[in-house]
Amino acid sequence: MELIKVIQGIISILVILVLAPMFAGLINKLKAIFTGRIGAPVLQPYYDLKRLYKKETINAKSSSFISVISPAINLVSVVIAAAMLPIGFARPIISFEGDIILFAYVLGLARFFQILAAMDIGSSFEGMGAAREATFAVFAEPIFFFTIGSIAFISGLTSIYDIYHSIRLDNVSYLVFIIVCSISVFFLAITECSRMPVDDPNTHLELTMIHEVMILDNSGIDLFLYQYSSYIKLFIYSILETSFFYPFGVRSYSVGVIIFVVVIATLSIALAISETITSRFKMKNIPQYLLFATAIGILNLLIYTFTK
Amino acid sequence: MFEFTILILIPLLSSAVCYTIKNIRLQYSITLSVSALHLIFSLMIFIGWYQPNMPFYFSTDSLSKLFLLVLSNVYFWVVLVSFSYLKRPVASNSEEGKRYYFLLLNFYLFANTSAILSNHFGMYWVAAEGTTLSVAPLIYYYRNEEALEAMWKYLFLVSIGIAFAFIGILFLTLSAKGTSLEAQQLFFSEFVKKARELNPVWLKASFIFIFVGLSTKIGIAPMHSADVDATSNSPSPIAALMSGSLRITALLGVMRIFQIVRPTSTYEFAKIILIIGGLLSLLFAFIFMFKVNNYKRLLAYSSIEHLGIITLGIGIGGLAFVGAMYHIIYNSLNKVVLFFTAGNIHRKYKTREVEGVSSVLNILPWSGWLLLISFLAISAIPPFGIFFSELMIFEGMLFSDKPWLLAVTMFFLLFIFINMGKTLFQMLYKKNENEILPIEKERFEIIHFATIVLLILLIAIAVISPNILHENIINISKDFGIKL
């Protein structure tokens, strides 16, 4: 039994690592279809990654060793975070009491090094992007703690796997609580993965970019690492979102996997739709958008705890 | 049912009738007869010739009898002078305002009577909001910018204030949870009887919310601004109506909750709140009297001052309470007089600024002298009623546990008197250099007649001191548990 569980865990992380670019490709394809274009093939991110891998890395003269190590640290942190997420009720390979904190701060570490690297280059554009990323991160972090954190607070568990296991939808107020949480996490996912309406991944104007502007001067393997880790990050947050949707009572691995696939597909459609119908916010409106998501989380926690 | 018909249904009906009739004179005669009927009937109820037995959510007690009489008295005189007022020329666009004038007046009577006679907090709230709604369009009678702004502010602020009062009423329901009053209707009489059982925390909250909410309507500082704007920019009969009757209707709500609070541990707290409200009103009147340069605003601040004195008297209790009850009557009579004469001056000089008014005594002898006399009356010069009621309030203050209040009040009143006198005497006596005396003297009009009658009434009540009134006020004091 133990061996199977370990294998399932390994499968989970492999699934994340392999399928992450495809998920991004899927969203782009769907978005293209919704706007009436043919769009790039679903596997386009893989081709991009392959192309980047072949290219030579050039760092700016003014940059220090930070620029050299940060892409690798970025990827590693994201992969560690990915290894903590359950897919289809399999216990992930990294799972212990309190790993929710590790999860949040490993992602924080990735972000930290990315910001640092962007500042290291010394270009004003990248500095601006780093400033924006840091500002919005301040507002995005509370969302995580008021959603996943509040579930942890209520269930008394501190491991992501256990937290998701504790979700039982047999009580109406808890059901509402979970639904509202999932909405909040959706906002979080959009922010963290630089999707519309917070950030436009396909924009061509540096002044309006947040995430893309930070990696403007990277090339070759470095860019490959950054891109790959951003695909994985998108997938991580999607998994966070899907985990809310495992209905009560299902505890078998195969059913869990089926649900996972279905929900991920639905989610990609939802993301594509939301990206199609919304336009990018003004930069000054983004904090209030994030605060709105936090507010939902706070309200949700308040209402749930005060319900008799 | 008979009294219900006369006091409440007939005003409503005549309001509907006024909607159908286009002729202003006919509307006037209908409204006047309704108001006379109302006055006679409330007098009968007050004297005790008729024992009322109100249906539904209505009832009468000593307090509502007194307030009803004050209301119908003020209303009658206001209606009486209204027609002569409507005949005055105004800007062309305010002609349409005349069409709804009597309709709204009738509706005001309906709503205000319902508020005074209601025995149910919900009913009181609905009716009190009804009075706001009927008065707001009347404020806009002149159809000018100031009146529009005043109407908007009054409507908006008072609506919010009264919404707060509604929260207070809901808190009152909460305070009844777990007592024998739970799940019962919000009848004043029941609450007064079983007040001891109420939860003190919620009762406190309820008192504060109702007091603060209604003080927008009473005009107690610091919520008085909309009230001042409205009173100073509305036509004089409406200003008289507001100062004389609408404010005390709102005061009634505060007195009802005060009556409930009395036997409970919240009593001392409520008294302090009332005293603070009263003192703040005096303070604001004191401050603004220094700089006000609009004589109608001056009178509006005088209203704030006197309502402040009344609130103070109620808060202090004892003899001051009795004085406050007398003060309600005298103040309402006196305010009607003041606003009527101020209206005459406004008609002649076409301005509300003190600067633009001079030598009123020469140009408008009737109005001038009446203004002078009514100013002396409102400043508590004997033998006018206000003197006696203020004396009673002061005596109550002196023998209460807070005698220092007397000093503060006297200080404020002195300066209010000086400033008000300075302004009004300037209007009355100041001579303009290039002044032309009008050839024809001011004619004696019905408005002067009303003013003189009211002034005589003001002296007569004080000097004769009818026993029936005294008994009634003693009964009210007993209802409020005041030992004399």
Binding site: Q288, F292, L302 | L155, L170
Partner: protein, 210 residues
């Protein structure tokens, strides 16, 4: 069920805090009206009676159909610009709303220990009252003030259901009528203000001062 409606109610308040369109305010009013109607109808599902439906039906007509339509008509007639013109930043406003909401929820939870009240609707109703006042204080447009006032009234209504005060139906209908007439008069006043003072916001009202 009451809790679910209360959560939706609070969400609508948050939306009110972040949106900057006048139309969105009207939509929120409509949404809140629907929530309140559902809240009123809900207890009658099990023992149905036509008589009990009079109040919810009136509420629906007044708060969902008539008043929002009336406000929309004013907006259309006067050609009021679609932005709400806040006097403070939306972000600060939202922070203010969150803080006051947290305080209200915690306070009402403490209060509910001594008195038998339903914490969630109580607190949600009170939050709506506070948000309504904030809207009135921190917005310039008069039409937005009217919507703020209506949000306040909705809050009082929700609050009233939490307190479980059994006001007689006559009086409930009376309050609804009063609110409707208030809004009607305010609408007329805004009309007049826009024509005589040529402005839709509080800066047009500065004549009366001492």
């Amino acid at each position: 069920m009451q809790n679910v409606l209360s959560i939706l109610f609070c969400l609508s308040l948050f939306y009110l805090a972040v949106t900057s369109r006048v139309k969105a305010y009207v939509t929120v009013l409509r949404f809140q009206g629907i929530l309140l109607t559902v809240l009123l109808v809900f207890p009658f599902i099990h023992h149905f009676s036509i008589f009990a439906l009079i109040l919810p039906a009136t509420l629906f007509i007044v708060k969902v159909m008539v008043i929002p339509r009336y406000i929309n008509k004013i907006i259309l007639d006067l050609d009021i610009k679609r932005m709400i013109e806040p006097t403070i930043q939306q972000f600060t406003f939202l922070l203010l709303v969150i803080f006051s909401m947290v305080i209200i929820f915690v306070a009402s939870n403490i209060l509910s220990k001594s008195t038998n009240i339903e914490t969630i609707p109580f607190a949600s109703g009170f939050s709506a009252i506070v948000v309504g006042i904030f809207v009135i204080i921190f917005r310039k447009k008069l039409i937005v003030h009217v919507t703020g006032f209506l949000v306040l009234e909705n809050g009082i209504f929700l609050f009233g259901t939490a307190v479980a005060s059994e006001l007689p139906m006559m009086i409930e209908l009376g309050t609804l009528l009063d609110i409707f007439v208030v809004v009607f008069l305010m609408g007329i006043a805004i009309n007049k203000i826009s024509s005589t003072l040529s402005g839709f916001d509080v800066t047009a009202l500065g004549r009366l001062k001492d």
